[in-house]
Symmetry: C2
Subunit: 274 residues, 2 copies
């Protein structure tokens, strides 16, 4: 797995404390947590207990909890990380977004009946109509320490290319996120959340290529990115290979922040993304 996870091992929803009355009914958050590793985009998924389906990590909203805080909580509980890049992108409100998946609904009911502390009550609560607000987050995979919640037995990074079938409309939610991400690429210096502290230009380019799903021209990419002025050139990376050593770059935080403020209009819009 992912190095050692030294964070609090007990940060998942604790079953005996799960009290329906603490949450507002009918509204949930689902998080598409995007990471990057081995030149692949991956997202964090949970797998339900008792042979249940794969799903996006999600959570309910506390009675006095801000919607965004609920998303942050999911993020923190699943990854162990605070303060990651998090952005709301869409609210999914079709009335049949759960119920039209009949077999899955039955499965969910059965599983949640066995897992919930309140048997039927929880099962009923969990199978009501839910409106769900989708958030997307960007993290460095190496820093995370995935933990399942009380409904799931696994919580893992899965490559976007091998995405399994997800519960309900979650595959569509992922699709929508990716479109959103590609557009956001034009407005946000997204790399800072997905790259390690120091990285080569090639690393960054591979990330952009993974997001845009098309190759970019090496020299033009470099010029374009450097012109934004948010990178700082550090030393060189000597790999031992028989070639010129690439520079290592890191993000200039001040510049980065002012760009998030003001927008950058960095554009790979040219070739239709939508």
């Amino acid at each position: 797995m992912n190095k050692k996870c030294t964070t609090d091992p007990d940060r998942s929803y604790k079953q005996p404390e799960f009290d329906l009355d603490k949450y507002i009914p009918g509204h949930s958050v689902d998080c598409v947590i995007v990471g990057y590793e081995n030149q692949q985009l991956k997202i964090l998924l949970v797998k339900w207990k008792l042979g249940g389906p794969w799903a996006l990590p999600g959570g309910f909203v506390g009675r006095d909890q801000d919607l965004e805080a609920a998303a942050h909580q999911v993020l923190e509980e699943r990854t162990g990380l605070k303060s990651i890049f998090l952005q709301q992108f869409h609210t999914f409100g079709r009335s049949d977004r759960h119920s039209r998946f009949k077999e899955q609904m039955d499965q969910v009911k059965a599983i949640s009946q066995q897992l919930g502390t309140m048997d039927l009550k929880f099962s009923k609560w969990a199978s009501q109509r839910f409106i769900s607000t989708g958030y997307f987050a960007l993290t460095e995979i190496k820093k995370t320490c995935p933990k399942p919640d009380f409904l799931s037995e696994k919580c893992e990074w899965v490559s976007l290319e091998k995405l399994p079938e997800l519960i309900f409309d979650h595959n569509k939610i992922v699709d929508k996120t990716l479109k959103h991400l590609r557009i956001q690429l034009n407005f946000l210096p997204i790399g800072i959340s997905l790259m390690p502290h120091k990285f080569t230009m090639q690393d960054l380019q591979k990330l952009y290529e993974a997001i845009l799903q098309r190759p970019l021209e090496r020299s033009n990419f470099q010029r374009k990115i450097l012109k934004l002025g948010m990178l700082h050139r550090n030393g060189k990376l000597l790999t031992g290979a028989a070639n010129k050593a690439p520079y290592l770059y890191s993000f200039n935080l001040e510049k980065y922040n002012s760009m998030v403020e003001n927008g950058i209009g960095f554009s790979y819009l040219g070739d239709k993304i939508l």
Copy 2:
């Protein structure tokens, strides 16, 4: 007022039929309905009865109603129009988004107690925490026929420049919409929803200027818009003024639709909008 309104005069929520159990609790939709008239952007507002505040037209969500359908319903009930451009843009989920406006909350409770058919029950229901999904819509003002809902005494188009103080966080919702609209201007041929069937290039430019809140260069605007190829040139408009008659344009629907599909990357991003 706005010509004669010949649509069904009875299309507002009917008080005696308003049954709380038909709606899901805690979630509402608010619509920022944008129109354009006399070279000004305007939005449709309602004013609560009994001296209550101005507010965005909103509505509750039926138990088996899609979220988007709820927004469409609000739109149709307030404007009399079906099938207008409608797009979800953000869900507002702060837990105190109503409650931190204490005086307003009291006012709302008092008013809804007098207006609701179920007295305290409705008042309590309406003053619970609400998460609200914001939709924005574009309409031609001349086609609309504003009607108040059962909570409001007025429903009017108000110029964005003279926007009154709105209830709760509604002013912020409007601000967010405008930013969204300016960005969308780069992706959508928005004019089609706000312009009359035939219009001059100057009309269209004025609209863009109203949205972007800055002057655009005449000749460049024309070239840029025409290059998109979604306009059809019709006849000339003879005004009787001592100058060259402008052409009248209309939207080419086929082209328009394919652009909405594929995205256009029409860009006034250059000068930071965000």
